[in-house]
Structures are given as C-alpha cells and as structure tokens.
C-alpha cells in the first residue's frame, strides 16, 4: 500500500515537473512575446510562435495527467484542494483557456496576440500561488475551520505575501526556461544573442525571487535544504554555460534547476500530501485503484514515450 501510494505521488510530481519544464516554457514564450523589444521584435515573436506551435498542446496534457492521477489515486486531497483553492484554480483555468485559444487564433490570422501574451503572464502566477498554498500548509488548516468567514476559508489560504512571491517566482522560472530553450530554437546569431541576454537576466531574477519567497515563507520547511544546495549548483552551471554560449548544456542545467526546485518542495513536505495533516497514505484511494493506475501508467508510457520522442525528433531535432 505504502509502496503504491508513494510511487504514484512521485509520478504525479514527475508529471507536474514535465508540465513545468515543457508547458511552463510555452507560457514563458508568451512572456517574451509580450516583452518582445528592439530591432528584432517581430522576428522574436515569429520564433516564439514557431517554437510553441507544434508542441504546446501535447505539453499541456501533462497538467491534465497530473490532475487525473490526483483525483483517481488521492481523491481526498483533490477534493480538499478543489474546495479551498476554487477561486485561484478557476482564474487559472480562464487563463489556460485564453492563452490556448488566443495562441491558435493568432496562428490562423485572427489576432489575439495581446490576449495570448497577457494570459501567459497571469496563468503561471496563479499556478504558483496554488502550489504555495499547499506548501504553506494553509489548505489543511483552512479546511479545519468550522464556520469560518468566506475570506478565511476561500481567500486567505492562497492570498498571502508568500503565495504572491511564489507566484511571481514561478513566472520568472517559466520565462527563464523559455529564454534558455529559445537560444536553441534558431540559428540566427542575433536572435540567439537576444535570448541569451534575456536568459542571463531572468536567471538572476529567479534567484532574487527565490530569496524573496524564502524571506516571507511562513515556516522554514517549504524547501528541503539539501535540494536547495543542488539547485544552487545547477544555477551556477546554467549561468556559466550561458556565458560561454554552450546552449545545450545551459538547457540541461536550467531544466535541472527548475526541476530540483519542485522536487525540493516535494521532499520538504514528505510524507504529507497536504500538510500539516493529510499524508500521502492517508489521502490514497483503495489499493486496487492504485495497482490498476500503475498498470495503466505503464501501458500508457509504452504508447506515450515513443510518440513524444517522435514529436520532438521531427520538430526539435535541429536543436
């Protein structure tokens, strides 16, 4: 039982990591679309659209997979999150709808470029706020208040200085990933230089925002300290390789940096799924469901990974 529930919780974190590293970068692309600037403004926007176009829908499915696994395998945690975070999740959904549709409208000549860019800005902030509310152990407490006011139960858990800081931190992480990846999406040296500078700049912002988030954190245990050290190492490698224009290495280091931040959060709150009281085992569905879910995942992976490999080989192999 413990093996199955912990493995599945790990897989949900992996799916969330894949969403952040792939889908997050697509949102980051929207940020750079908004901030496109200088003599190569239009070329920057074209590059972003070309990089996102073939892959964003597949990248988006990681979020759905994480959500489906959460409600299948950890229904109690899902119900609690859905109640306490109703408002930011609904806002995030509106952001997801506007970003996706505006992007495809823009692609097919319907305008909507500003909507695409602004939705790309707001959605990651809301995603970060939701994660922060879980990490801050506020959802568990809110659910425990009987007859609390509307504000105390449905707003206070996710609207704090900490959640806002993590929301902005998430946004800078996504923009950072996008800038790093975009250096490899073009052979145009000028565009590469544009995004190299942006990558270095946002890399600094990532560290500043991380510091801010930790400074206002409600408790010390939002990120595991050993993992934080690894994040630091990855950040140094990312900066060094960007400086040296070794973009492939930079891409690996940047992805590792952001993945380790997520895993740092996961390790810090282990064995809790919704701290301070709901453990992974305590939130888990019956064993039979967990076994079958793992089976479905194994089968699904057999189909998914070759297909994903093919998709990225067709569209990203030059890089």
């Amino acid at each position: 039982m413990l093996f199955f529930s912990h493995t599945l919780a790990g897989i949900i974190l992996i799916a969330l990591t894949a969403y952040v590293l792939l889908g997050g970068a697509d949102f980051g692309g929207g940020v750079w679309d908004l901030l496109a600037d200088g003599p190569r403004k239009m070329r920057q926007r074209e590059l972003i659209a070309r990089a996102i176009g073939p892959v964003w829908e597949a990248n988006h499915v990681w979020l759905i997979l994480a959500m489906v696994l959460l409600f299948t395998c950890f229904p109690r945690a899902f119900a609690r999150i859905a109640i306490a975070l109703h408002i930011p999740l609904t806002l995030m959904l509106i952001g997801i709808v506007l970003r996706g549709s505006a992007f495809v409208f823009q692609t097919y000549g319907g305008g909507g470029g500003r909507v695409f860019a602004i939705a790309s800005l707001l959605t990651p902030v809301l995603l970060g706020m939701c994660v922060a509310a879980v990490a801050a152990a506020d959802i568990g407490q809110a659910a425990g208040i009987p007859g609390g006011t509307f504000y105390a139960v449905y707003v206070a858990p996710w609207l704090t200085s900490f959640t806002l800081a993590v929301g902005l931190f998430t946004l800078t992480c996504f923009a950072f990933l996008a800038a790093v990846y975009l250096t490899l999406e073009t052979r145009d040296a000028e565009l590469q230089a544009d995004f190299r500078l942006r990558a270095i700049g946002t890399g600094v912002w990532v560290l500043l925002m991380a510091g801010l988030a930790l400074a206002v954190a409600p408790h010390r245990n939002v990120v595991d300290h050993r993992m934080a050290a690894l994040v630091g190492i990855a950040a140094v490698i990312a900066f060094w390789s960007l400086w040296q224009r070794r973009y492939r290495l930079a891409r690996i280091a940047a992805a590792a940096e952001v993945a380790l931040i997520l895993w740092g959060w996961g390790v810090a709150q282990y064995p809790y799924m919704l701290p301070p009281d709901l453990t992974i085992a305590g939130a888990a569905a019956p064993l039979r469901t967990l076994e079958l879910s793992l089976g479905v995942l194994a089968l699904g992976a057999l189909v998914l990974f070759p297909s994903l490999f093919y998709l990225f080989k067709v569209f990203k192999s030059r890089n």
Partner: protein
C-alpha cells in the same frame, strides 16, 4: 439563483460548449485523412487543398476543445468535490486512459498540422489516422465515465457508506456500450453532415466549384452512413434506459402512469398504441413504468427531458431520411450537385446533428437528476460548500460566448470561403 443551480448551470454550459468541439475533434480527422488519401491516389490538387483547409479548421477547434476539456476536468472537482472524492477511485481508470489517448491525439495532430514538409507523405497520412483513432478512443473513455454515473457498478456499501472496490467492474458498467456507441456515431453523423451541408450551401451559389463538390462527397461519405445507423444505436440505448433507469425513460416519453402496452406520444394529442412498449422492450404488451412508480422527490424535470428527447429524435430522423436520399443517389452514381432540393435539404441538416447531440446530452444528464450517481448520491450532496457560485458561472458563460463568436468568425474565414479554383 441557488448555489446548486449555479453549479449545475456552469457544468451544463461547460459541457454544451465542449461537446461541439469534442465531436468535431473526433470526426474531422477522418475527413482530413480521406481527402489526403484521395490526393495520394489521384494527385488532384483539390483534395490536397481540402485536407489542408480542414486541417486548419481542425487545429482551431481542437485547441478550443483541449482547453475547454481541461476546464471540465477541473470543474468535476471545483463544483462536485464530494462526488469526485467518492467516484474518483472508480472512474479514474477511464479518465487516465483518456489522458493517454488525448496525449496521442495532441502529439500526432502536432505532427499532422506542422509536418507537411517535415515527414514523408506516408508518415503524414499515418499521423492523421492516429489522430482519428485516438480522438475516437478519447471520446469513448469519457463517455464510459459518464455511463458509470447512470449505472454505477464496482462498489460496495459498508456501514451505509459507498466504498470503491473494483475499478474494472466500473469500467464495464452496463451503460458504457450503448452510450459510447450512440455518442461516437453521433460525432460522425453531426460532423459529416455538417460539412456536407456547408458545402451544399456553397454549391447552391456556385455549382461548378470542384472544391465544394469534393467536400460534399467526403462529408456525405462519413456523415450519411452514421446518420442512417444512428436510429439503431438509439434503439439499443433506449432499451437499456428502459431496463436500468425507468425514471429517465418515463421522463423521456412523459409516461405519468405505469401501464402495459404503453402508447408512444408523438405530438400532444397524437399517439401510436402499444408503440412505446414495443420500442422500449420489443414487446407490445410490456409494462412501462410511469412516474407514479417513482417517489416525487426523485422525479427529473419531465418537461425539459421530454422536449429534449423529442428534438433529438425528430432531428435524427430527418438526418437519416436525407442521408438515405443522398446515399441512394450516390449508390446509383447520380450527380448530386444539380439537385437543388437535395442540396437545400442538406443545408438544413447541417446544424441538426449538433443540436441533436446537445439535446441528447440534455436527456441523459437531466434525466438522471436528482442523482449525480444514479441511486447512490444526490447532486445536491455533491456540490462544493463554497457560496457565491453564480460568479464563476457568469464568468465561464461570458468567456465561452466570446470564444464561440471568435471561433465562428475564424472558421468562416478559414474554411467556408472557398478558394478560387
């Protein structure tokens, strides 16, 4: 507006919006693939142009379908957390399977849309086929999850509390086959005749455009057989409802009193004796349970369910008749294009499948009320405790109104305006 009604309305708006994009996402890839295959065979550039235009339309509709589907997967929890807490472990299986089918669909649609000059022609066609297959699979898995709400299986009641025991039994719920069959055929019928109707309209204006002529034929090729088969799957679905959900059948047919040899009410005042018993049980003497056999507080909204059912049946019948007409002419190798009356009948049929699908979902969802899990959990007990649900309902409704308008305008620009051939 009460919170429960707001939550139900938000779910209804979200489903009604998504379902259009979902069925187009299931069936359009089939049309694209047929057009592309014909291009490979004939090298007639009209087919290539058709495949590319349809692909652009599919791209727009699929993207909106993907994001509105995401909204639904979250809304299940945001609006009905108690339901998901209970049902998640049982209906999570089809949703997980759907997740992978959707992954496959998104991946190969990316290859299809952006890979015209990046992969071989054969690989491109295979990508299109994979989109069509995984799109149908996605739809079937989601319908199975809904079917479980109508005929819940795979659980045990312990100390008065429902507990999940067997997700495989839940997957094999009795409503799964009739519902999935009826819905999948509906997708092909609605989309195929929708496309055929649009191009019939354009042919009425300009009969010589080969682009519209080819599009009409392929639309009919997919839509007409589906529309002709749909009454059979409807019969299968209705007979299962008669046995498993008597309250729903009673509401569909507005049967107030239990009776043997029940008549079928077609219009107010017009009825065919014994026909309902015959249709529902294939036995003219069979007893049809009326609403009098069901406790008052478990009645669905009879007026709405009965009306929606009649709309669905009427439109479905019309589509089947027009399809038989066109199919008869095609089988005898007659040219459809000069036949003004047939083209006009097809134009009228274009929106029918979509309206019938919406009406069908009204029947199955409203007909299940007041239950969210039939016989197990009431919808009122599943709703989120958060007050003020009218606010998200309004926001989602406005959002979808704007999106719907933009999509309509874009599609008009992308596919409806025919190229100068």
């Amino acid at each position: 507006m009460s919170d429960l009604l707001a939550a139900r309305s938000q779910m209804a708006v979200s489903l009604a919006f998504h379902i259009i994009f979902a069925i187009v996402g299931i069936a359009m890839p089939v049309l694209m693939v047929i057009a592309e295959h014909r291009w490979h065979k004939t090298r007639d550039s009209v087919y290539l142009e058709l495949a590319k235009r349809w692909a652009r339309g599919t791209a727009i509709l699929f993207a909106v379908g993907a994001v509105s589907g995401t909204v639904l997967s979250f809304e299940l929890g945001l609006l009905w957390p108690r339901f998901m807490e209970l049902a998640g472990p049982l209906i999570g299986m089809p949703f997980s399977l759907e997740g992978f089918a959707f992954f496959t669909e998104a991946i190969f649609l990316g290859v299809y849309l952006y890979g015209w000059d990046k992969v071989s022609p054969r690989a491109h066609l295979v990508a299109g086929i994979l989109v069509a297959v995984s799109g149908a699979a996605s739809g079937i898995f989601v319908v199975i999850a809904n079917a479980w709400m109508n005929t819940p299986t795979g659980y045990a009641v312990v100390d008065g509390i429902m507990r999940a025991v067997d997700p495989i039994a839940a997957l094999r719920t009795p409503a799964a086959f009739p519902q999935a069959l009826h819905m999948t055929i509906a997708a092909y019928a609605a989309t195929g005749l929708g496309v055929a109707g649009i191009h019939a309209l354009l042919l009425l204006k300009n009969r010589t455009n080969p682009f519209n002529r080819a599009a009409l034929t392929i639309g009919l090729l997919v839509g007409a057989p589906a529309a002709i088969l749909q009454p059979i799957s409807g019969d299968i679905a209705a007979r299962y409802v008669a046995r498993r959900q008597p309250a729903k059948l009673a509401a569909m047919e507005a049967v107030y009193t239990t009776q043997a040899g029940a008549p079928l009410k077609i219009f107010p005042g017009i009825q065919i004796p014994y026909a309902l018993s015959l249709l529902a049980f294939h036995d003219p003497k069979a007893v049809v349970k009326g609403l009098d056999s069901i406790p008052q507080d478990e009645h669905p909204n009879v007026g709405l369910v009965h009306f929606s059912f009649n709309v669905m049946v009427a439109l479905g019948t019309y589509m089947a008749i027009v399809s038989l007409w066109a199919g008869w002419l095609l089988v005898r190798k007659r040219d459809l294009v000069p036949r003004r009356r047939l083209l006009m009948a097809l134009v009228i049929a274009a929106p029918c499948g979509f309206i019938a699908t919406e009406a069908g979902w009204m029947v199955t969802e409203l007909g299940r009320q007041p239950w969210i899990i039939y016989g197990v959990m009431k919808t009122a007990d599943a709703v989120t405790p958060m007050p003020g649900l009218v606010v998200p309902f309004t926001a989602i409704t406005l959002l979808y109104c704007v999106l719907g308008a933009v999509v309509g305008w874009l599609l008009y620009r992308q596919i409806i305006r025919s190229p100068q051939v």
